[in-house]
Symmetry: C2
Subunit: 349 residues, 2 copies
């Protein structure tokens, strides 16, 4: 449990992100956390680079509805300050904390404060001794993580998590899989330093997707050189497409080809935009022609398909009516919103 | 072999897309194919909805440097016309072609023309008989594909490929995995009707990535309700992040946090843009701070990392020099381009 959010043991997989405001700037940090939470973020991590940041943590914790995790590097005393401030968890990187003595000091406080400690190993900051003798990056990550967990267990920490991240998908997937075989602690998974919004999205979807598809990962963090909100959106979508996520509308739409009779791209984009934010788990189809159109539209809660002279509107698996080609988007959205209203009234009833 | 492009048998995994111009419009179709090829597309499929489209195929085939695959539905005679026009392959969907008799007519021409036939099954157009008795979608896809392959084998077709696609990631991944266990024919993989550019990118990356990570898939098609060029870009990136793709620069960059000292987002986006299109397999790091920055920058061919007063430029795993914070992007790009030039001169020599 990170405060009231369960991680591991079969609990729903959670989405994390990390603020990029100066942590010591309370207002902007609280504001960013609120945006992240509104987008579906379950756990928020904040960097604690110095004592000024650490001194702000208590007010951040008090001002947020989600568990706050403090990201600690280099200075073990920052970890103590963070735990005293009441954070739900800390992330320590054995590669930057360095000495066993300092890990032990952290463990001494983690135990009585019931702080969750993530042993977070990263390829960019591995201790030198793990990289000697041409050890492969993946093996070095695994060794460092397992040793770090063992140390923290021996020092009496009761709640641990673990992560092993590299900027390469293969290394991260292999290392995470090996760690998952060697320990039962909950795993935080993600690809680190994954790059820009576009290529990082693909890198994370492939890597995190491959792990989750194998049942590995209890909490995920998509890492993007972009607005942290994008990390939450991508993370939530990865969970949704694997059937592991929160509810909400999904748009099914065809890739368009020479057969396409309607502006699938525009209508699908519009539907995705107009229906985002709702919780109703409806599936909406936007299909260009008669090949897969009727089949896919029938399999969804509501769907339209283009035809040579008119479109077809399907609701609940049945053809409802023919529609004019130029009113297809309106017809689709009005049916979809009717279903969303029904769903919401049903929940309220 | 699709013309001169090998598929399966351990050959490099190829990227496909499909034109969305009217196939009968020769100029716009050839123009789109050229753009797709320039973006890295290995095989191009075109829809053949009618005889007018079929009549244009010969000139499309002659005007293109890549193998052309004709996408056939409903009318088996279109398949004959396409094969006579010299396409490298045809895709037939047993669910829309319908009768065994018509598949046999197609097989009779495929064999002497050495046309590759893809049995392409799609959840949106399954034959009714496979969906009876509440059979699961995944099982219906597998049954239809295996039966289709068996028929074409019995009818004497020598070169087959197979695909099973649903709009759901789990169904597609499970069905593709089962088919790969039941047959040795090369597999075309992808998620169908995957949605908009944003959500479809994630859906395909998760689904195709999960399959490729298990060694399943010989050729891929990312399906997006978007410009087909985006399908090629995303497909190529999926292969690249799994180490299965063509060469080219990769940007490693951190997600930014309260520690970040430089504008990582802007510099990483700029680097990705400026270095795209080159073939040199260099890795370029843009890192915000001293935690993972030096480690990651050293592991790349060239990298920069922010610091409190100045940045550090690493080349070939070694610190080259301190750089002013406001000239960090210029320094990075000039080193990266120098490495690209060296690589290209080395190849020419």
């Amino acid at each position: 449990m990170l405060r009231d959010v369960p991680v591991g043991g079969g609990a729903p997989i959670t989405v994390q992100s990390m603020t990029n405001t100066p942590t010591a700037d309370l207002d902007s940090t609280l504001d960013q956390v609120r945006h992240l939470v509104a987008a579906g973020c379950d756990i928020v991590r904040v960097a604690v680079p110095d004592m000024e940041a650490a001194a702000t943590l208590r007010r951040i914790v008090e001002g947020c509805t989600v568990p706050i995790v403090a990201d600690i590097h280099f200075d073990w005393k920052l970890a103590l300050k963070a735990m005293e401030a009441g954070v739900a968890g800390i992330r320590v990187n054995p590669g930057t904390i360095g000495s066993k003595k300092h890990l032990e000091e952290i463990a001494k406080v983690a135990s009585p404060t019931q702080t969750v400690v993530r042993v977070g190993v990263n390829a960019g900051s591995l201790e030198k001794r793990f990289k000697e003798n041409k050890v492969r990056e993946k093996d070095a990550l695994v060794q460092s993580a397992i040793e770090g967990l063992k140390l923290m267990e021996d020092f009496g920490v009761e709640k641990l998590k673990v992560s092993v991240k590299a900027s390469g998908v293969e290394e991260t997937v292999e290392a995470s899989r090996e760690v998952s075989e060697k320990t039962d602690w909950p795993m935080h998974v993600g690809i680190t330093e994954a790059g820009t919004l576009w290529s990082g999205t693909i890198k994370n979807a492939v890597g995190i997707g491959a792990l989750l598809a194998q049942g590995i990962g209890d909490t995920i963090r998509v890492s993007l050189s972009s607005d942290p909100l994008e990390e939450v959106r991508v993370g939530s979508k990865i969970l949704q497409v694997l059937g592991l996520g929160k509810e909400g509308p999904q748009v099914v739409s065809c890739p368009t080809c020479a057969r396409t009779r309607i502006d699938v791209i525009e209508i699908a984009e519009l539907a995705e935009k107009e229906l985002s934010g709702y919780r109703a788990p409806i599936r909406v189809a936007v299909m260009g022609c008669e090949v897969n159109g009727p089949g896919e539209a029938k399999s969804c809660d509501v769907g339209v398909t283009g035809g040579p002279e008119h479109g077809l509107l399907f609701v609940g698996g049945k053809l409802k009516k023919k529609v004019e080609l130029d009113s297809i988007a309106d017809e689709l959205l009005s049916e979809a919103k009717r279903l969303i209203n029904e769903y919401e009234e049903g929940k309220d009833a």
